[in-house]
Subunit: 163 residues, 2 copies
DNA sequence: TGGCTGAGTCTGTCAAGCGGACTTATCATG
DNA sequence: CATGATAAGTCCGCTTGACAGACTCAGCCA
């Protein structure tokens, strides 16, 4: 294929895309509702009916998404019983789920910059406890630099496959 | 509503969710294909047919997604003409699109940890140029700490609305 | 006993995704 | 000039998934 390009032939074209990490992550997170569900759980809303009502998700869809997130190991059921009530379920983040924090923070950071509200940020990631300061994510390389976006590039790693 | 909870009533329940930054970001990025499209453009694959074939997107969907991304200002058309060929279009990241780098890097980082491939990472963010080192994202607060996920919490910001 | 509530399940409708065929514009070749 | 190739779409019909609204079920409570 003579896919010549203005500057140079994109190296990426020679690598397979099937096993790309982003694809595999998006298989879990890449739909309209999953992030909404996670957001609710992240902010501490853990019960089916509360999540459904706040996020406006159809019941059936919520049932299905929670099941998928449990199966993928991002959340787990946590049965509990209040005095004088029957047992119910909460959904809580597992370690894997918790580790999505940087992703959510990065998204919020981007959203606050490019889709700002006049009133200011509706939600802020903060360091718990005494510190209480605002949390952001930054990119940095192993040499200690903090490259701007333009200075970063995706390269094939050891698991890349030729096409 | 007596939404008592094991530990305490989640404060988040008292805040509206409508204008949440994550929702607004997900309106742009939150579907099965958009991230795949962005990934291709990020790695340097910029032409309709190349994107379509590599990501396996139905043509119609790709047309629609590219238009949406352009309208949202994440990418722009870049007409060009190779000698002896007619004019074609490439799709390139705008500044806003570029600034999604931390989001993508965070996702890759998570995926490589929780959905690892035996062969290793298929794609690696790296500092361009001489440095060439691997790039990661980290969370840190304004006081300079690097809180673990468990030490971060989402709090309502100035733009939060009561329900 | 009947009612309330949380957490679903069932059902029919409608929009979206999908694969495959068709279209259009431009260049290259014979 | 006619023919063919190619990039970037459109068009079409089928199927899948989202959706709203009604129904179910279990346990507590009056």
């Amino acid at each position: 294929m003579s896919t010549a390009v203005s500057e140079q032939m994109p190296e990426a074209m020679t690598w397979s895309t099937e096993n790309c990490t982003i694809s595999r992550v998006m298989e879990i997170l890449g739909d309209k509702w999953t992030f909404h569900v996670l957001r609710e759980i992240f902010v501490g809303v853990r019960r089916f009916e509360d999540i459904r009502a706040r996020a406006g998700i159809p019941r059936q869809v919520l049932t299905e998404r929670l099941a998928a997130l449990i199966e993928r190991g991002l959340i787990r059921r946590h049965p509990y019983r209040l005095p004088g009530q029957r047992e119910r379920s909460e959904y809580r983040l597992t370690e894997a789920g918790m580790d999505l924090y940087p992703v959510l923070v990065a998204m919020i950071q981007w959203g606050d910059e490019y889709l700002p509200l006049a009133a200011g940020a509706p939600i802020e990631p903060r360091h718990r406890g005494d510190c209480g300061e605002r949390v952001t994510v930054t990119m940095h390389c192993e040499a200690g630099h903090e490259p701007a976006p333009r200075e970063v590039a995706f390269r094939p790693g050891p698991g890349a496959r030729r096409r």
